[in-house]
């Protein structure tokens, strides 16, 4: 009956495939990301804007709040590279300072809303049944409501301030992440390694934290780079509609909003912050696309 050969154990390696090329996840990602020119460009632009925002007082050529009515609508020249606005304030300096608010709003509410989405999504997917139904119904409700309108309602009720923008955008943004994480969790929780973790006596929350979520990182990274520009655009829209950042603070959306009346006489006032928004959003999208391609093998897994 036994057609097995006796093989001495403990001596021979049973495969040559196990070449220990110890390249970690991040090394692999950055290697393939560096081949993507658009992604590199995106990364550089984002980095430049970030540095600009952080070092605004050193970078800005003029005081962004200094009103000088004799300089109203100065055309772009050597002293004011993108001209001045209706109060004679330097547009370039205002864009540089505006990057602080716009990028802050790009990152903070996105990260908060994604954290909420991750927690609710993984709980929903892992426990299933009634918990899942409850959380997903809530997510559907949020998704079914026009997000800008919902954010406006929140802003009107709470009043316009930076903190309230964070709250408004977080409330609007978590549902998408929750859905993605829930879907991932549903497929991951039936994987044998999760079963194996359970069989070695690991607690539920540790399974979620250490075995399910780390396997969602590729999806979450892509989602992050797509959600940040959405937040920036939402802030711009809210400010444009007058419920976002309040003067004299300068955010890009507010600048476009203020400049729109002088579109034909002094187009640079509205167009240049618009270009700033455009380039940051595009840069994030390029980086996001690059990341998605780099993570493709992981996403396909």
């Amino acid at each position: 009956m036994s057609n097995f050969k006796k093989v001495t154990v403990n001596t021979e390696p049973d495969s040559s495939k196990a070449d220990p090329v110890t390249e970690t996840f991040w090394q692999e990602i950055s290697r393939s990301l560096l081949k993507d020119k658009a992604a590199i460009l995106g990364g550089i632009v984002i980095l430049a804007f970030l540095l600009m925002a952080v070092f605004a007082p050193y970078v800005a050529p003029h005081d962004p709040y200094k009103v000088s009515l004799d300089l109203q609508f100065t055309k772009p020249n050597a002293q004011y590279p993108v001209g001045t606005d209706m109060y004679g304030r330097d547009v370039l300096s205002r864009i540089i300072y505006g990057a602080r608010i716009s990028l802050l709003i790009g990152f903070v509410p996105t990260i908060i809303s994604m954290l909420i989405g991750i927690i609710l999504g993984v709980i929903s997917g892992y426990y299933g049944r009634r918990t899942d139904f409850l959380i997903m119904t809530l997510a559907d409700l949020v998704l079914a409501f026009p997000s800008l309108l919902l954010a406006m309602v929140v802003m009107y009720t709470l009043g316009a301030s930076l903190l309230n923008i964070f709250i408004a955008l977080s409330i609007v943004g978590w549902a998408g992440t929750a859905r993605v994480v829930r879907a991932e969790t549903l497929s991951l929780k039936n994987k044998e390694f999760v079963e194996a973790a359970k069989a070695t006596g690991v607690k539920d929350y540790i399974i979620m934290l250490r075995h399910i979520l780390p396997n969602c990182i590729p999806q979450l990274l892509v989602l992050l780079t797509l959600n940040i520009p959405i937040s920036i655009l939402s802030e711009a829209s809210l400010s444009f509609l007058g419920v976002g950042a309040q003067p004299p603070a300068s955010s890009w959306g507010l600048m476009v909003s203020n400049g729109k009346e002088y579109m034909f006489n002094a187009p640079w006032v509205a167009i240049s912050p618009g270009i700033a928004i455009l380039s940051v959003v595009l840069a994030f999208n390029f980086l996001g696309d690059g990341l998605r391609d780099a993570l493709d093998p992981y996403l396909k897994q």
Partner: protein
């Protein structure tokens, strides 16, 4: 051999008594494990054999209560080391899982988390059940375990990700993970099904030598009778959720009683055929019945060559044929 099956408990590490695990599906109740009793003697290797879908894996998962809804253990006792696991709290069960009872799953490819190095994963099991152990101690222990299960260059392999290893090596890692806490009982659920034949032999030999060294008991679940002959002391043959025959490995192969066991034995492909045998490979006709629509009487009767009238009317009991050999068949009545 005899004392093992007569209900004398002192030398049994695990006793499953009249276990019933049912799945309450929308279409009806599915008795995946129906009144199964299994005893595992200390230091023994027990085999559970049967076709796919006959309840082997569900039996083993029931032991650690890894059955998720709609499945439910509805009756029976699972006595491990004198303690009924069905009365344990979730916390007590978690302390037993991976520490005193470990499972090796069928698929070494997916049983390891792809985002952690294999060394870390094995160390984690160790740290989970040894609160006072330091990380460095755990690492030393894991590397020691890696060399014990025959992983070449264990220090190097500690920092390797699962996808960088072959199937055979991954299964060795799984075995290392299962035995790193020196479990008293190892449940191996088709541990070699996903591996090729040469690796299979290595892994089986490894398990056998480790079982002696660590002095653990093993439940080996398989559909491969060759593996059973090689490894096991005592064998249970399962069909559609019930034990059909149980015997020590020699009497099972020498004088198998149940028509199902006989069919399984005849279905093994052989190279050195006798002149009189036909060239065609024998197979048992039909398929494992859908457990939702079990046939009346003996579950095997629709496929049985020897089926009598009574077989489709009444369900036979497990009968003691002496020498620790039990069979569930009307052929041997009276």
């Amino acid at each position: 051999m005899r004392g093992m099956n007569c209900g004398m408990s002192y030398d049994n590490i695990l006793e499953i008594k009249n276990l019933k695990t049912y799945f309450y599906t929308d279409k009806g109740i599915l008795p995946a494990v129906d009144d199964v009793s299994i005893n595992v003697g200390k230091g023994k290797i027990i085999g559970i054999v049967g076709e796919s879908g006959c309840g082997k894996s569900i039996t083993s998962l029931s032991v650690l209560q890894l059955i998720s809804p709609p499945g439910k253990i509805t009756a029976g006792e699972i006595i491990f080391n004198g303690k009924n696991l069905l009365h344990c709290t979730p916390k007590e069960i978690r302390a037993i899982r991976g520490n005193e009872i470990s499972i090796i799953f069928q698929e070494p490819m997916t049983s390891l988390n792809p985002v952690y190095t294999v060394g870390k994963q094995v160390a984690e099991t160790l740290l989970l059940h040894n609160k006072i152990m330091s990380k460095r101690e755990a690492k030393e222990k894991v590397i020691e375990m890696f060399s014990l299960v025959g992983i070449p260059e264990p220090e190097k392999r500690y920092n390797v990700y699962p996808h960088q290893l072959s199937g055979g090596l991954r299964q060795r890692i799984m075995i290392a993970m299962a035995l790193v806490c020196r479990s008293r009982l190892l449940i191996a659920d088709e541990p070699t099904t996903a591996l090729d034949v040469t690796i299979e032999a290595q892994i089986l030999n490894l398990m056998k030598s480790l079982q002696k060294e660590i002095d653990t008991s093993v439940i080996l679940i398989t559909h491969n009778l060759g593996v059973v002959a090689e490894m096991c002391d005592y064998v249970y043959v399962m069909y559609a959720g019930k034990i059909m025959e149980q015997a020590d490995v020699y009497s099972l192969f020498d004088k198998s009683l149940h028509p199902y066991t006989e069919g399984l034995l005849k279905s093994i492909p052989r190279v050195n055929k006798q002149e009189t045998e036909s060239d065609r490979l024998y197979c048992i006709n039909g398929m494992v019945p859908n457990l939702l629509y079990l046939p009346k009487g003996c579950r095997f009767s629709p496929r049985c060559e020897y089926a009598m009238d009574i077989c489709s009317e009444q369900e036979p009991e497990l009968m003691d044929m002496g020498g620790g050999h039990f069979v569930r068949c009307f052929k041997y009545r009276g």
